[in-house]
């Protein structure tokens, strides 16, 4: 007997979104399950704070829900979702400034490896300094270094590393050319490398 949920899971993002727009609620849940970790990973490090990432994450999906009738199946879902996410996140950064993020002299903490332990209670609980001890020193140094990158470089780097988008998809999401994406990515890699080396880490 074919499992209907298993069949739904085999659908592409675009098919799922179209079917959700037509009233199939289960399709949305699969989309959410599929994208919550990469999207939240991008937001939390781009915004530098868990509570802001929670807000923007919710805004993004609410916007997707509201805009479902306008969604066309031929439009790439990830590019669409990350364009919304990226615009919302940039707005949020402009509104709140970089103050709070810079005031954290240690890396943002995200709970344990799975990000789960207390992260599911409240945002404020989940990102307390007591969670900090978990990470590897190098990873923490990278986390700190990311905060020093210019927004457009951090954005591209995180869309690549956390969200796993291709250069073309990043270009669509950030509305610049693929060549610009690549050059920002190269600058980001170069800056991170040099910063980590300065701190005594070596490849």
């Amino acid at each position: 007997v074919p499992n209907p949920s298993a069949r739904l899971r085999d659908l592409t993002d675009e098919e799922l979104m179209s079917r959700y727009a037509a009233g199939e609620e289960a399709c949305f849940e699969i989309l959410l399950a599929r994208h919550r970790r990469p999207l939240f990973g991008f937001l939390v490090r781009f915004l530098g704070r868990g509570d802001r990432a929670e807000d923007v994450f919710q805004e993004v999906f609410f916007e997707i829900i509201r805009a479902k009738r306008r969604y066309r199946k031929d439009a790439k879902f990830t590019a669409w979702m990350y364009r919304i996410a990226r615009n919302r996140a940039v707005d949020r950064l402009r509104r709140d400034g970089f103050r709070d993020m810079e005031s954290l002299d240690q890396s943002v903490s995200y709970g344990d490896e799975t990000g789960e332990s207390r992260a599911n209670l409240t945002p404020s609980d989940a990102f307390g300094p007591e969670e900090l001890t978990q990470g590897h020193e190098l990873v923490q140094a990278l986390d700190r270094t990311l905060k020093g990158l210019p927004d457009e470089q951090r954005e591209v780097f995180l869309l690549k590393e956390q969200a796993g988008l291709s250069v073309t998809e990043i270009a669509a999401a950030t509305e610049v050319s693929p060549n610009t994406v690549k050059s920002r990515l190269r600058y980001a890699l170069e800056k991170i490398r040099s910063e980590l080396t300065k701190q005594g880490f070596k490849p």
């Binding site: 499992n3 949920s5 298993a6 899971r9 959700y20 037509a22 009233g23 609620e25 949305f28 849940e29 959410l32 399950a33 919550r36 970790r37 990469p38 990973g41 939390v44 490090r45 868990g50 990432a53 929670e54 994450f57 919710q58 999906f61 609410f62 829900i65 509201r66 479902k68 995200y110 709970g111 344990d112 799975t114 990000g115 789960e116 332990s117 207390r118 992260a119 599911n120 209670l121 409240t122 945002p123 989940a126 990470g135 590897h136 190098l138 990873v139 990278l142 986390d143 780097f157 690549k160 590393e161 956390q162 291709s166 250069v167 690549k182 890699l189 991170i192 490398r193 980590l196 490849p203």
Partner: protein
């Protein structure tokens, strides 16, 4: 491939975005060019470090809000009143009409003593008194459509429902179906008017779907079933929301109570059922009861749901912690 081209392609190579042919060319070049090799090694190192960054998940509260929003918007809404304002006033007017019709029918037919307590002034449903009498009245078995409509169209007035009230509701749901008083507590439950073969009936708009799937000729029992289904769903979601609020206050005992109520009100294999299980697991985990938490996480893996992946991770983590 010369150095300039290679340097341009190294990033694509690291991220696996090169065709097989290009990749081979870059690899060939790297073997013979220490400069490019160094650059490749350094960037790959940064990439590997970034891969090790922990991937957090948003809180269950946020996920729960999103799934609730998605559910409320899933069914294509077709209202007789296209604009929100008209919809609202239209619904109110319709509710008044329904109340009027009901009152007339009571005066004509043999209506129970308690129902007669509802004064004719209840044309505005907001003024309908709700108290112990109302509950007793609602407990009367439906004798005629008028009584059924009356119950359906009489939302309780302003007072904020307390925890004890919701407990009453939940008990009512688990017990006799017809005893469930219709509550209008969720902000999402805006009233809408749906046509039925016998006139108007007022139903929660978010559940208009349920009405459409019901047979066109609704008898008293069928109405009760449909209505009962609505109450069960709305009630479970409300309990879940209350549960996560209690959880965010670190009031684990209260959170467990709410989630238990949600669990008993929710249909198996539905989103509220899964969220109630998740809530119970998290409340127990936060309360230092890993064995109980583990039990609920395991229940979450019984059928497909959006929390499956999370539950599996937690099962691994908690099992390791217990041993």
């Amino acid at each position: 491939v010369n150095c300039k081209t290679a340097k341009d392609l190294i990033i694509d190579h690291i991220y696996g975005e090169l065709s097989a042919r290009k990749r081979d060319q870059v690899v060939d070049h790297l073997q013979n060019c220490p400069d490019c090799q160094k650059m490749h090694q350094e960037y790959a190192w940064v990439h590997e470090t970034a891969t090790a960054l922990p991937s957090p998940l948003p809180s269950a509260m946020t996920l729960s809000r999103i799934t609730a929003e998605a559910r409320d918007n899933a069914a294509p809404r077709r209202s007789w009143f296209g604009f929100p304002f008209l919809k609202w006033t239209g619904a109110l007017t319709a509710a008044a009409i329904v109340a009027l019709v009901a009152v007339f029918q009571f005066q004509e037919g043999g209506v129970s003593r308690e129902m007669a307590v509802a004064p004719p002034a209840s044309q505005n449903p907001a003024e309908t008194p709700a108290g112990p009498e109302k509950r007793v009245a609602a407990a009367e078995p439906a004798r005629e459509e008028g009584a059924a409509l009356m119950r359906e169209s009489a939302p309780p007035p302003a007072p904020e429902p307390s925890a004890s009230e919701s407990t009453t509701t939940s008990r009512g749901l688990n017990g006799a179906a017809s005893e469930a008083p219709v509550e209008n507590r969720s902000k999402r439950r805006t009233a809408a008017v749906v046509p039925s073969s016998r006139g108007f009936s007022v139903a929660a708009e978010s559940k208009a779907e349920a009405d459409r799937s019901a047979p066109p000729e609704l008898g008293a029992n069928q109405t009760t079933v449909v209505r009962n289904f609505q109450v069960v769903e709305v009630s479970a979601s409300q309990h879940i929301e209350d549960g996560f609020l209690a959880l965010s206050r670190s009031d684990y005992g209260q959170a467990r109570l709410f989630f238990q109520q949600a669990l008993s009100a929710a249909e198996p294999e539905t989103d509220p059922h899964h969220r109630a299980l998740l809530g119970l697991a998290q409340a127990n985990e936060a309360d230092g009861k890993p064995h109980d938490a583990l039990r609920y996480y395991r229940l979450l893996t019984d059928d497909p749901n959006p929390h499956l992946e999370l539950a599996q991770e937690k099962i691994r983590e908690l099992s390791a912690q217990i041993n």
